[in-house]
């Protein structure tokens, strides 16, 4: 009786220790670089034409209503989509998106994410971690 209960207690504490040890692989601090990007838009950027800041997965636009940024990470499985004349298309499983990021075909479950833009002098700051409702455009 005593032997059996100590056996179970040993098993229990080992299990507990194991679960505790499994906490280790769950990273607490992520190594990702800063999500805030400083962008200077070319003077000549035409409405409806995407500007892709070098090294970033986003497309920045300017039209009469202001400046806005759309993430180019596909909401299906994370491939980087290409801006086209009509909107965006994903190379991986053929999702297509309209110019406002809504899905027009393919497996993507969600519209593209609109990113938060704020003015900073002549430049713009886009925060890849902050999502804003589609249609949010910012003026200087």
């Amino acid at each position: 009786m005593l032997g059996l209960s100590s056996l179970w207690m040993t098993a229990g504490s080992m299990l507990f220790a194991l679960v505790g040890a499994l906490r280790l692989p769950r990273a607490a601090v992520l190594d990702s670089p800063s999500k805030r990007v400083r962008v200077s838009l070319p003077e000549t950027l035409a409405a409806g034409t995407a500007f892709v800041p070098p090294g970033r997965s986003m497309a920045v636009f300017r039209d009469e209503d202001g400046v806005f940024a759309i993430s180019t990470v596909c909401t299906h499985l994370g491939c980087i989509i290409k801006p086209t004349a009509e909107g965006f298309e994903c190379p991986c499983h053929g999702s297509r998106f309209a110019a406002d990021g809504s899905v027009t075909r393919g497996p993507a479950p969600q519209p593209l994410r609109w990113l938060k833009v704020s003015a900073s002098g002549e430049q713009w700051i886009v925060d890849e971690a902050a999502v804003v409702p589609a249609g949010t455009k910012v003026n200087a």
Binding site: P25, R26, A27, L30, D31, S32, G55, R56, S57, H76, L77, G78, C79, I80, E89, C90, P91, C92, H93, G94, S102, V103, T104, R105, G106, P107, P109, Q110
Partner: protein, 516 residues
């Protein structure tokens, strides 16, 4: 005088012992003596830690070529090849982004025999995946999973999953475009339960997808953390797990009474050839396992219960299959190089971004719905496979190819059904598109649960239920379902591999792909 004598004899004994040492080491290593006779061979087999995975004698049925087609042994052989070549690759491979790519490039272009070893490793993994799947099919079609072997069937499924895990983790290691984007997609498939939790609006409270992805990548992007995790899984955790599962697998084969065979196997085999077995020495009479029974009984000149000594008969067969596997891997490695694209670029996906071929069927399903194709349906398939031996409790024709009600004609019809439905659905979806194109505003949950992938699964399931009722037999349903599953896997894999081009658009041939 006396003392000199004593020391002389002590020295003499020392010299004698020294001279005897090699012989004693030999005798200690091979306790039963040289394996020249059936009896000493038996002792040899069960006295040797590696060989005693085998029983001392095997039934003649198990040795028939078509009982197993050698597929299990071929899988082990391929695994051993990946072990040897993989350890060699580890001498130079460095698991850090970009450095990893450079090290693979070194292995490929600079290291002596490096390219050859890498090719063999890559090809052996492909061979292993093929033989493991075929081995499973063999076990299924000979109904060899039935009681008492249900549990070993489950161990086998774990082995299949581990094998696929090994190749998936290995695929990232070269850190080229192919690797990077296949793993990005794979990691996001792990995250795809969000497709459902998002649609239900509960992701903030309950996010198993996000957790899976975080555990796999150790970060929110595919970077150094992900690479070291995949490396650890690939060279330590999964190979060790696979080895342990293999030990259990083999041990169960013996404890479950050797390979499954029909109850009337002895009659069907007929009497063994007169010339066999060849006794090179009169065996001691014993009834132990190692016994070779001799006497004026029916068993004269054949082993107990129609068996043959494992050594040499089983070992010859195993060696032959191993040599064949090695030869195939070497030949493939000589004619075809393992691919290596440009270094990984997180900004520009490979187009088309394709996983290893055995995952392209899944990728085709994923192109309908990430969650159902990548997690839902695979889980259903694994669960279904796991349940087979617990639903099929029949006994008729265990050990016979296509055994069970309906037999080969049923399998043939199921091939037609399986191929027909998957081809029809794919053709329809490729020609006319799917719900999202017709009704852009349709809720995501509808697309997740109503798409060609789920419809195909349902159709196969319904067909199998119909078979169960029609033949009043779970085995008939299983035969139909498994056959359909194989057909679906085959067709989707071929479509994903050959007929999908840039943007996952259907092309009749890669020659038609647009060039930029």
């Amino acid at each position: 005088m006396k003392s000199a004598d004593a020391s002389g004899s002590a020295l003499g004994a020392f010299a004698d012992n020294l001279r005897a040492a090699p012989r004693r080491i030999r005798e200690g290593a091979f306790r039963g003596g040289a394996p020249h006779t059936d009896r000493t061979r038996s002792t040899f087999v069960f006295g040797n830690v590696f060989l005693h995975l085998h029983s001392v004698r095997v039934h003649r049925w198990s040795l028939r070529w078509w009982t197993t087609a050698g597929l299990g042994i071929a899988s082990v052989a391929a695994f051993l090849i990946t072990l040897v070549t993989g350890v060699l690759l580890m001498f130079y491979y460095k698991p850090y982004p970009d450095v990893a790519y450079a090290s693979i490039k070194d292995i490929h272009f600079v290291v002596p025999t490096g390219r050859f070893m890498r090719n063999i490793h890559r090809w052996a993994t492909n061979v292993m995946v093929v033989t493991v799947i075929l081995h499973m099919a063999r076990v299924f079609y000979t109904a060899a999973y039935r009681s008492p072997r249900e549990f070993n069937w489950l161990i086998g499924l774990a082995l299949l999953v581990t094998t696929l895990g090994l190749s998936f983790t290995g695929y990232l290691l070269p850190w080229d475009q192919l690797a990077y984007w296949a793993i990005t997609i794979g990691a996001n498939i792990a995250q795809s339960p969000r497709e459902v939790t998002d649609a239900l609006g509960v992701t903030d409270m309950f996010d198993p997808g996000g957790l899976q992805r975080l555990l796999l990548l150790g970060s929110d992007t595919v970077g150094p953390e992900a690479l070291i995790r995949f490396y650890l899984l690939h060279v330590m955790i999964l190979p060790l797990g696979l080895t342990m599962l293999l030990a259990v697998h083999f041990w169960r084969v013996r404890k479950d009474g050797g390979l499954a065979r029909p109850s009337d196997a002895d009659e069907r085999l007929g009497p063994p050839a007169q010339t066999y077995p060849v006794f090179t020495e009169a065996p001691a009479k014993t009834y132990s396992l190692a016994a070779v029974v001799r006497g004026r009984t029916e068993a004269v000149n054949r082993g107990p219960e129609n068996t043959l000594p494992s050594m040499p008969h089983l070992f010859y067969a195993e060696l032959a299959v191993t040599m064949l596997t090695v030869a195939v891997c070497l030949a493939l490695a000589l004619v075809s190089d393992a691919p290596l694209r440009e270094v990984a670029n997180p900004l520009v996906p490979e187009n088309p971004a394709k996983a290893p071929w055995y995952f392209l069927g899944l990728q085709e399903l994923v192109s309908f719905s990430a969650f159902m194709g990548g997690i839902g349906i695979p889980a259903i398939v694994i669960l279904g496979l796991a349940l087979i031996p617990y639903l099929d409790r029949e006994e008729v024709q265990t050990g016979d190819w296509w055994g069970g009600p309906g037999g080969w004609p049923l399998v043939r019809r199921s091939i037609a059904v399986g191929l027909g439905s998957v081809l029809a659905l794919e053709a329809f979806a490729i020609r006319f598109g799917w719900l999202r194109e017709w009704f852009p505003a349709i809720p995501q949950l509808v697309v997740t649960f109503v798409n060609p992938a789920t419809i195909l699964t349902l159709a196969y399931g319904a067909y199998s239920v119909w078979l169960v009722r029609r033949h009043a037999s779970a085995r008939a349903g299983a035969l139909g379902l498994f056959t359909c599953f194989l057909c679906g896997f085959l067709v989707l894999t071929v479509i994903g591999t050959h007929f999908r081009g840039p943007n996952w658009v259907f092309y009749w041939s890669p020659a038609d792909w647009p060039r930029h």
